[in-house]
């Protein structure tokens, strides 16, 4: 008995005719131009930037068109060029971003040591050897300043989200628009505002809390918007279930809606912290920088990682630049930790519920 319908069907699409030499041609087209360019560059000692632009790119385009045409006709020609363009720019991005990450990691590590993480800079000059001093005071400052901002901004942001989601006030759209406008406030302008209002006018000297105040309008829109999205995702049935049990709105929010939105709210907090942790300009205008460890956000200049980095870049000596790289690595690590945390929480959230 023969059952025709059981015959295996060809896996390929009809227009993609199997061509054994296709893979070979594509491979050749993607390696030969690079090979020729490398050889010419080395033999004639051409500047790499020139050879990439003037030898590699034209050569690769010609090869791409030729092979694309050979393999898939006229249609293949445009596809090959698109593919090359896309890969070329992607590689450029990859090179730039890898260079950025690698510089921070390698240069940062050469400045890194245990004492770099906890010592302060009281006896440090721009040229002092890296055996002494560190960013301990800047870490303390960043934690205090960002912590104070977070302490004020998070409840404020969540309450704004509550207002936008749980009430039916007419002014909600105005609030939403203006909070969004706040996210357009350039950070240096926020710093300038606090500098002019509090420091020039003599209300306070440079101080951590002034820095926190300058960071507040930068963090608030991120927290409010993300928290709003998180509350919006809580199903209305859950909320109504609580109200139908005879719960006042605030208890329904506190015991049911907020716990259900927990991961989204935590994400909002982390994104807010990530938004401000590397802000430099507002702090330069409001907290200045200090060499000693200052545990008091309400008294006197206080250092932070970004202002430390700025200060040591500005000094211009090799060892001070090394210190700046060290601070950059610490900032990168902090950002990476926050980033990983959001990923883990977001993954938690996306995981399907056991039962619908």
């Amino acid at each position: 008995m023969t059952d025709l319908s059981a015959q295996p069907r060809p896996a390929r699409s009809p227009w993609e005719t199997p061509n054994p030499s296709r893979a070979f041609k594509v491979a050749a087209a993607s390696t030969i131009p690079a090979g020729i360019t490398t050889v010419l560059t080395l033999v004639f000692g051409i500047d790499p930037a020139v050879s990439v632009l003037l030898i590699f790119v034209p050569l690769q385009v010609i090869f791409a068109i030729a092979v694309g045409r050979n393999v898939a006709g006229k249609k293949g020609q445009g596809d090959a060029v698109l593919m090359f363009t896309s890969v070329f720019f992607t590689v450029l991005v990859a090179v730039l971003l890898t260079s950025l990450l690698w510089s921070i990691i390698s240069q940062g590590f050469s400045a890194m040591s245990w004492h770099f993480l906890y010592q302060n800079n009281v006896y440090i000059d721009p040229t002092t050897s890296l055996e002494y001093g560190g960013v301990g005071h800047a870490i303390v400052g960043t934690v205090l300043i960002v912590g104070l901002t977070t302490l004020v901004t998070v409840p404020l942001g969540i309450l704004i989200a509550v207002y936008l989601i749980e009430t039916r006030d007419k002014s909600r759209s105005t609030v939403r628009t203006l909070v969004q406008a706040m996210s357009g406030l350039p950070s240096v302008v926020s710093g300038l505002f606090v500098y002019s209002m509090l420091i020039v006018s003599g209300v306070t000297t440079y101080a951590g809390w002034a820095g926190s105040l300058a960071l507040l309008p930068l963090m608030l829109p991120t927290v409010a918007r993300t928290a709003e999205e998180a509350l919006r995702l809580v199903p209305v049935e859950i909320r109504n279930g609580a109200l139908a049990l005879g719960s006042p709105a605030f208890r329904a929010f506190w015991q049911v809606t907020l716990p259900a939105a927990r991961s989204g709210i935590i994400t909002a907090i982390i994104l807010g912290i990530a938004r401000i942790i590397g802000e430099t300009a507002p702090l330069l205008l409001t907290t200045f920088a200090a060499k000693n460890t200052n545990f008091n956000v309400f008294g006197g200049p206080i250092s932070s990682l970004p202002t430390y980095l700025y200060q040591y870049v500005s000094n211009g000596y090799d060892t001070s630049t090394q210190r700046a790289w060290g601070a950059a690595l610490v900032i990168l690590l902090l950002v990476a930790i926050l980033f990983t945390a959001t990923r883990i929480i977001a993954g938690d959230r996306k995981r399907p519920k056991k039962k619908a």
């Binding site: 109504n240 279930g241 049990l245 005879g246 015991q255 049911v256 039962k355």
Partner: protein, 262 residues
């Protein structure tokens, strides 16, 4: 567990009209719900029966643009009186929704007792209340060994009975049920129907259902709702379930219960 033995009705709607924005969806609904009996609200989709149910414990007003006229009397008091706190209304008139909605962050136990915490009440005998509520919702035997588990670990039918237990823990006078079995399998549906019949000994139950066999199985009284050609919905016929299904007075009721439309 208190058992009320009352022969008189204590929930009653008088000339209830409902709007969504400018749209008039219900007109002049007058129903007196007999105490300690099950009343079924039936009718085709969009006839306003679920909307009417939601007016009975003031859940309707949570929808923006909700309009209302008329009276809902609970033991003679209008629950729409401006001096009436909707929270108190909902404490006396519980509700079970179409889709099971246990609180996702709470355990089975916490879900049952959530009404107490949410309304700021205390009880001396939490474990007694927990057990009696779960027993009345006929789910005690299935969950008694896993009370600390997440509510979402239960099956759909169990979740719905958990939601019933959650409502029962507040010991309401009236229990409203909005198509409580529509998302469930036949086995779970049967168990919930049995629960409804048992519960009606101690409370007044109003149930919206699409399923006419279900109405005949559980309801003492049945109200048939209909909205014709863009007119607001209303009650076409209300009476003893057997009469409504077997000896309908109105031709439209006859058509509907015999499956001619809807």
């Amino acid at each position: 567990m208190s058992t009320r033995i009352t022969g008189t009705s204590h929930l009653k709607s008088e000339n209830v009209n409902v709007w969504f924005g400018e749209r008039h969806v219900l007109k002049d609904v007058n129903i007196t719900f007999p105490a300690n009996q099950v009343t079924a609200l039936i009718g085709p989709s969009g006839c306003g029966k679920s909307t009417f149910l939601r007016t009975l414990n003031r859940m309707h007003e949570l929808i923006p643009g909700a309009g209302f006229a008329g009276k809902i009397l609970l033991d003679g008091t209008d629950i729409y009186d401006p001096q009436m706190d909707p929270v108190n209304v909902r404490l006396n008139i519980g509700m079970v929704f179409q889709k099971p909605n246990p609180f996702p962050t709470m355990s089975i136990k916490d879900n049952v007792l959530s009404g107490l915490r949410l309304s700021g009440r205390k009880t001396d005998d939490a474990s007694g209340l927990l057990e009696s509520s779960l027993r009345r919702a006929s789910i005690w035997n299935e969950v008694k060994d896993r009370l600390g588990d997440a509510a979402l670990s239960l099956s759909g039918g169990q979740q719905q009975r958990l939601c019933i237990a959650r409502a029962l823990a507040m010991n309401p006078e009236v229990l409203l049920m909005d198509e409580p079995c529509s998302a469930l399998d036949p086995g779970s549906t049967r168990r919930i129907e049995e629960t409804i019949v048992e519960l009606s000994e101690s409370m007044t139950i109003v149930i919206v259902t699409h399923n006419m066999q279900q109405a005949q199985r559980v309801a003492d009284e049945t109200a048939f709702f209909l909205a014709e050609d863009g007119n607001p919905g209303g009650v076409v016929e209300f009476g003893n379930t057997e009469d409504v299904f077997n000896r309908p007075v109105d031709g439209r009721t006859n058509d509907y219960v015999n499956g001619h439309f809807g």
